[in-house]
Amino acid sequence: MDDVKNLSSVYWVNMLSNKFVFIFNLVIPTIYFLYININSFMRDSVTFNHETFKVIGYFWAYIILVTILNNVIVGMISQRESGFYKQTFFIVGSKYKILGANFLVQLLVLNIELLIFNFVVMFTAHYWSIKLLLAGIMASIVVSLPIAFAGSILFMLKIKIESINILVSILLFGLFIGMHVPNNRENLITTFTSLINPLSYITEVSYQVLLFLFNAKLYYSEIVVCLLVTLIYVLIGWYSISKLSVNAVADRV
């Protein structure tokens, strides 16, 4: 555990030097949120309801997915393809420690992003609630690891660093389209096929967390499907990480 802590502090210092990722992960969705909710400034306090929870869940889903994909998964692929990961591997001695340290730092980054976004939401809605901040932290803790596991499937691709960002953009675009394909969640199977999309999965878990904290309600059927999807994500990640090579796979470094 000390090794992970030590490496995390190194990753943290390194991460602070690249603040551009914050702009992409946080500033863009925040500006869009303000743009579509500009009228709320003029109104009195907005009460949070199911609809508000859904909207907040969408934005959280974007922030969480983009942060995990760009900072954890693409970050690891870049490190592997540049030889950086191999060098670190022979200092630390375990790929799990490197992955763990990288993940923990990005989880902290993610929570800072969500915290800032949630303050913007409360400021816009003129509605201040500690529950929203808590829900953001809970949702990020619950979904980040499964999403990182699911994203690990990208480790299996033989792809150059220059191409990975384009691929991730295409992937995100596809997931956004997939999220809006009409899919009536009439039974467990249709709910499952809908939630296998990571964006829908994060939105749903975020929604459930918000419902639980604000209304003290739990929808067990959705939670069961979310658990099933989580299990599938973990299995994908387990296999992908076990195959993660120390050497660059696209070009020799």
């Binding site: 090794d3 190194v10 390194n14 950086f84 191999k86 060098q87 022979f90 001695g93 375990s94 470094v253």
Partner: protein, 195 residues
């Protein structure tokens, strides 16, 4: 340490066939040979990260967790200062090695003047000194260096080789490295393995 029947091929191109390699434990083992003969791949194989087409029986080679491996190309945290980089190595290694006179002298004469600079601001040679210094702080049984002095001026190359030699002479570690510049090794305890 010994590698028996080492073979390597890439497709139809055979680079090594049933080679027996003996690594002296009290010397710097220099793997020498022209470009493209498979020196780096041999180091990868030794470190347990070689391609599937590199085969052979390892006898007495330490487990992967006991191997330090410095790659030829430096890809490391460029935003960390030299101080932060060395402190990172210390956390994963054994700072007692720094009591060695060679280490102390190099720390004072070279590292102290660049101590607060970021690694990304250093020249290639300075980076190699910093990382070699760091690698030598790791508490491992086998140390592998891939071309540690390539692209480095004569003065800095001597500093790097002094650090590596201290591992063998003062700390009884086994070192394997590749190098094209054998004339730089004059006076150092080394054993040459031709590929």
């Amino acid at each position: 340490m010994q590698i028996k029947k080492y073979s390597l091929h890439f497709g139809k191109r055979i680079l090594a066939k049933n080679l027996d390699v003996i690594l002296a434990e009290d010397k710097i083992n220099i793997i020498s040979g022209g470009n493209g003969v498979g020196k780096t791949t041999f180091l990868d194989f030794l470190a347990g990260v070689g391609p599937k087409t590199a085969t052979g029986e390892k006898i007495g080679v330490p487990a992967q967790r006991d191997i330090a491996y410095q790659l030829q190309n430096i890809h490391f945290f460029p935003t960390l200062t030299v101080k932060q980089t060395i402190e990172m190595y210390r956390r994963f290694g054994n700072s007692l090695l720094e009591d060695n006179e060679s280490f102390k002298k190099i720390k004072q004469t070279v590292l102290d003047s660049i101590w607060h600079l970021k690694v990304g601001q250093l020249s290639g040679g300075e980076r190699k000194i910093v990382l070699t210094y760091g690698q030598c702080l790791l508490n491992k049984k086998l140390y592998i260096f891939d071309e540690p002095t390539s692209g480095v001026d004569t003065t800095n190359a001597k500093i790097i080789l002094k650090l590596i030699a201290a591992l063998v002479v003062n700390n009884e570690k086994t070192v394997v490295m590749t190098s094209h510049n054998l004339d730089q090794l004059d006076g150092l305890p080394f054993s040459k393995i031709d590929f």
